[in-house]
């Protein structure tokens, strides 16, 4: 039996390249341990529908390779997240968009991964601009990993880094 005081909060993590959407007010969507990836959070406050995309790579260039797990790419994940949110009843014009992530964890001398974080931030902003979607808040770049949570019940987004308390975005 569930009493009012012990209602279980449900946690749903979007892993690398995944999209998660929910209209359940008990649900917390999350992207855990985000480095160079982007946690894209969208929320319709009127219909209380939240969605998250864990974006790994910038632009797909429509290559054949992009077909499998294509939502790892910014240019595919963003329209897909919008589509899934609309399917759940979200209204595009009401959606509030926040982004976090895109860190550069290593200096370029020690890594051959180039600056994936910066390229991801740039790509996400470009695609959002093409979709005519405004970013209402962002916490991007830097050299630290982040865990990003979107509370579907309230629409608040928290960003946590190691050794620091979570802050609201």
């Amino acid at each position: 039996m569930v009493t009012g005081a012990t209602v279980q909060e449900k946690s749903i993590a979007a892993n690398l390249g995944e999209i998660k959407v929910s209209n359940d007010p008990q649900v917390t969507l999350s992207c855990l341990g985000v480095g160079s990836c982007i946690a894209l959070c969208m929320y319709d406050p009127e219909n209380k529908i939240g969605g998250m995309a864990h974006i790994v790579l910038p632009i797909s260039n429509n290559s054949a390779r992009a077909k499998e797990n294509a939502t790892k790419y910014a240019d595919i994940a963003i329209p897909e997240l919008l589509h899934q949110m609309r399917q759940q009843g979200a209204v595009r014009s009401k959606i509030v968009t926040r982004i976090s992530g895109g860190a550069q964890m290593f200096n370029s001398a020690s890594s051959n991964t180039f600056d994936t974080g910066a390229r991801n931030i740039e790509a996400v902003k470009k695609v959002l601009a093409e979709e005519v979607i405004k970013i209402s808040a962002e916490d991007t770049g830097g050299r630290k990993g982040r865990t990003v949570r979107l509370f579907v019940g309230t629409g608040s987004v928290s960003v946590k880094t190691v050794g620091e308390p979570a802050k609201e975005l």
Binding site: L16, G33, C37, S110, R146, V162
Partner: protein, 211 residues
Amino acid sequence: MEGVQRSGVYEVELARWTELVGQGTHNAVLGLSEMVGVKIRVTALDLKEIPVRNAADLVGGAENEVVVIYLGIVGGATGHIMLVYPINVAFGLVDMLMGEEIGTTQELGEMEASALQEMGNITGSFFLNSVADNTGMQLMPTPPTVMIDMAGAIIDAALAEIMVERDELFAMETVFSTDIRDITGTLLVLPTAEFMDVMLEQNRKYARVQW
């Protein structure tokens, strides 16, 4: 093996690659043993093909706070080598490397990071030398970087590079430890798809001469 067919790597070649990596790992652990002056043994060596999105599970989950010594692989092919330790274990390692009493190190300053970098250098070089010797490939490690952060955040840029090519990953996971002190850690080798192709091709060519 379903995963092997999907990647176009034949079972016999996968077996060869496992053998090469196994030799490389034992060589790396030998280098590590010499450096810390304690006999270290490989307690588990597991080569597996996993979905890239699950890779953080290899290091205790994406949010797990760890110390990672990272080296890129450059030369004939590219990839990533990471030594992953729980924080207290990394501090204990620093104590061993610096000849301090266990429990002395409480944070990662410049000197502590430098000791761990040197350890990464030894481990990475021993590993790559063995693989290079057995395949004729030219492989070098980049200068090591040491960091403390969430495991997922540290590895995701490396995973992104792999995900450009494919969504499965050949991960080599080695757990090593010693009876005297707890220095359990994970050596993670993440080859790019190109690395696997080059290695198998080189190995085939080299095998005609050597074996």
